[in-house]
Subunit: 588 residues, 2 copies
């Protein structure tokens, strides 16, 4: 059926909507795809719904090809299962919570791990039932503090979430791989370039985790990759510890006066002024910066830790968050320093002549952790734990020890990839998918066990696989537009072709209707701009804004049976006979 624009529920807007900053947000509203209802909550108009349906079809087909079966959970879920896994609390303000008329606690589900786990527990009991992978395409809710960028970070969004269930680790690996392969096919079909990057799995209790990122300079996620094929997001990047250096022949530590040098910059300048720089000048990389962090553990207790990192690096908040999860991390407060007078702000070190105040025998009782680069035999300029004094030639493993290593320092371009594939580059990307080996965390919390071949109860191991359908739609819009409007890839366009009748000549409208009918008969989805008394300029502007990939203009040449075929992406226009235009489009 040909859709006629004269009665189609769409109105294009000339002005950018207030508060919209990114292109996809502006254009999807201006071109009549979505309408805002509340912060981060949108209604879908016919155009938007068509694009969404096409993306969902691609996802459904590839899920079926991967052997996943579709189910559907309600958005409104009772509290109990989320309580059992701790997420009722953990989600904090992100969770929409509500009561029913009897006072029962409910939530609008932000994700459904618990529900799927309980469903499989409900119906399955034997290893023979496994493996199974279930999925749904469903509207989810997150009460984001700052919903923004339209569909890119909304409070209601459509997700495809899949969950795999196996009773062996090898089985989980296979289920994981099947979803990973399906994701590759999905993004290929959607024309979305992607990088598969290692992601941190620790916080969720899982064992393996990869993100599909679309590389783009405007992406909100930072990741690293090497020319040799390594890719990881910065949270998951692992630093290679250098080889230890023998202590033999290393100079002994010397405390020196360093007035007014509480920062690395002032310390480096002072050091170069007072020490012998005939062999080389000192840089920030020669210093060891000791950062005091306050951890809040899940049980509410607060703990200070000191982390020594090379002075040329800063703390990366995301890496610190992951490193200390599930505890929350914050910088130490002035009150913390007051309570611990041995922490001499600006002059903290791992060791002093007065005794080991930090390290294994620490008099402070505070854990001391080190960046992996601070290996045995490396010598450092660092604080002497005495106001206005530092120490140099302080050697790790000889002059001080630590309670462990931790990765919280920034990653830099040029850092070596952990797999030996060369130095990494920093890049930015947008997350478009996530595959995740959850392992047994949810199955354990909710008691999902099956009998194995020997009649023994074993805990099931799970994977979780998500694609944000509405997010992907927004990303495609974000990547495919120009100053005139949207430019949809053919795989997800709301229509295959838009026919535009121009002028007042009835012959043009008759030919346009005929061309539309022929294109429709060839199996193409056709939007026919049949509006009378609308100027060609307005019609062309609307067509460019809406962004259907092919436009057929029927106007002046109609009397001779000629039309113009206009490719939205290139702007190229070709005059040809109506029949040839139909044939060319039908062949595509």
């Amino acid at each position: 059926m040909v859709t006629r624009l004269s009665s189609f529920f769409v109105r294009t807007l000339r002005e950018d909507p207030a508060g919209a900053e990114v292109a996809s947000h502006k254009l999807l509203i201006r071109a009549g795809y979505i309408r805002p209802q509340a912060a981060g909550i949108f209604a879908w108009l016919p155009l938007g719904l068509r694009v969404k349906a096409r993306i969902e079809t691609v996802v459904r087909e590839e899920m079926a090809a991967a052997g996943a079966q579709e189910v559907h959970f309600p958005a409104l879920m009772p509290r109990e299962a989320y309580e059992a896994t701790g997420r009722w609390e953990e989600y904090g303000d992100l969770l929409f919570r509500l009561n029913d008329r009897k006072g029962g606690d409910y939530l609008l589900a932000p994700t459904h791990e618990e529900a799927f786990t309980l469903l499989v527990k409900d119906l399955y009991s034997s290893y023979k039932d496994l493996p199974v992978t279930l999925y749904q395409i469903q509207d989810k809710y997150r009460d984001e503090a700052r919903p923004r960028a339209g569909l890119l970070r909304g409070r209601e969004f459509t997700m495809k979430d899949a969950y795999s269930f196996d009773y062996t680790d090898a089985g989980l690996d296979a289920s994981y791989q099947a979803q990973r392969d399906a994701y590759e096919r999905i993004f290929q079909r959607l024309g979305l370039e992607y990088a598969i990057v290692q992601a941190d799995a620790g916080a969720m209790g899982g064992s393996k985790s990869e993100e599909f990122l679309h590389p783009t300079p405007v992406g909100e996620d930072t990741f690293v990759r090497s020319d040799g094929g390594y890719a990881a997001n910065v949270e998951a990047f692992q630093t290679i510890a250098p080889a230890p250096i023998p202590f033999e022949g290393l100079p002994t530590p010397v405390i020196f006066d360093s007035p007014n040098t509480p920062t690395i910059d002032t310390l480096v300048a002072h050091t170069n002024a007072v020490l012998d720089t005939t062999e080389r000048a000192y840089t920030a990389a020669d210093t060891l910066k000791n950062v005091v962090l306050a951890l809040t553990h899940l049980d509410g207790t607060r703990e200070l830790v000191v982390v020594g990192i090379p002075g040329d690096r800063d703390v990366d908040d995301k890496r610190a968050e992951v490193a200390f999860a599930p505890a929350e991390v914050a910088p130490a407060t002035p009150e913390d320093f007051e309570k611990h007078p041995l922490l001499v702000k600006g002059y903290i070190g791992p060791w002093s002549e007065e005794g080991a105040i930090l390290g294994e025998e620490s008099a402070t009782g505070i854990r001391y952790l080190l960046d992996p680069r601070v290996v045995e035999g490396t010598a450092w300029i660092t604080g002497a734990n005495i106001d206005q004094k530092h120490v140099h030639s302080l050697v790790a493993g000889r002059d001080f020890d630590a309670d462990g290593f931790v990765e919280i320092a920034t990653v830099r371009g040029g850092d070596p990839a952990p797999d030996g594939s060369g130095p990494v580059h920093l890049a930015r990307g947008m997350e478009i998918g996530h595959v995740f080996q959850l392992g047994r965390k949810y199955a354990e919390a909710l008691g999902l066990k099956v009998l194995d071949e020997n009649g023994k109860l074993v805990t099931v191991t799970m994977g979780s696989y998500g694609i944000g359908v509405t997010r992907i739609l927004a990303i495609i819009a974000e990547l495919n537009n120009d100053e005139k409007g949207l430019i949809w890839p053919e795989s997800v366009a709301p229509f295959d072709v838009q026919v535009v009748a121009t002028g007042r000549d009835e012959a043009a409208f008759a030919l346009a209707a005929d061309v539309s009918a022929q294109l429709d008969a060839s199996g193409l989805d056709v939007l026919y701009d049949d509006r009378p008394k609308v100027s060609p300029g307005v019609k062309f502007g609307d067509a460019e804004l809406i962004g259907v990939p092919w436009i057929v203009i029927v106007g002046r040449g109609a009397a001779d049976g000629e039309v113009e075929l206009w490719e939205r992406r290139t702007g190229e226009r070709t005059t040809l006979s109506a029949g040839d235009a139909v044939a060319r489009l039908a062949r595509r």
Copy 2:
């Protein structure tokens, strides 16, 4: 793609689920279509999702054929628009309300009139834009006090809700008719017998309202219909007032002692004992019962009204609710009678020798209303407003008047249809759809106006059209089952055919796989029961429970290329060659 039962996510249950009372609820759970998550909230398993998708496809196709365009609103909606129309309050406990992290008021929408009105207001401004009919298929929420009967009255349910927008009454009539016609086509395609009954439109402020009811003795709604084609639900039934009777020659009223006759039964017995019954005995139909009701108006004020109805009828609560809407109706309390000593309980009448204490000049200040049957010239036995006394030969219009007429009496089989099409029969049915001329109520409340041909702003007039998708699924299940399980109509069955391989003979499994593949190649949806080591009895039982309309049994005759074709509904089994079975099913 053939779906293999060995890996299909379904487990049939032998036991009825606890608390399930109706067949559809029991069977949809036992056969693995849905799983309960909370009271009135269900998850959809692959089988259930398939049936639901088929119903949705029928609805979508007929909506498109009726020119309606699909959009999609979020379930989570801000309070404001519902506040503007008064429904934030009116819905009472039925509404799931919640706050976001900033304290903003939200609801889970039970219906979307407000949102659609605002959307059209947002984008349209001229009569040229109209008419337009928009719809969505969406999950809705109602916090029912007693969710029951599974999907028939759930707290989350899927609805198709459509809304039409016109600027003239004739336009609304046409839009309404287009939806009404679409509903007829939908129910015909779904094989659901229906009656279109007049429904009351007053409470919603609309002008015309019809319900589609499926007639069934187990239906929860009562309606009436005449052989001449009239049909209405009891709330909408209108009584024909009989012709008035001339006063000439009518006897004058007489008060008589009637000790201990506060009820109609005791009054009739007493009347027949003390009055002259040579011409005829008196019945309850000769008495006028005066019922005292307490109305609570929207502004919170409370008002007593007295309604006189023939003594052979009772008050129908639903009719009373509709008659007095939007006020709430309840029986008067003992306190009400204490406050009004002129209301002599058991002996209330419209008139007494002491003066007109009720009626236009009522000393009580209470409104007195009459059943439409109490026309001028009818004579009644009724209370004398004096304890232990009644009056007879009291003539309406001569001896007493009223403040108006009101329809709150029960409707009975045999009552004349208001359109003159003969006496009505009472019947029961289940609501399967509702078409409704809302008129200008929502457009007025939310300011939806367009410029008409003369450049004048006119308020838009709307229709609202609902079909409960999940409710219809349950009704189809309720109507199509036997003691063995479900029996799906072909139009909505989860699969077209189920192939069952029996025995341990590999040839049977090979033939069954081949038959499945051929059926699949013919465009049929095939469920293949390929489970090894499961007895034929269990397989047949599962097939009967699941209810796919056609079953192909491949077993003993496999070596000779023979199969059995089993029609689930009739139980008829025919032995034929595999090729013939495929051909017969493919032809259907």
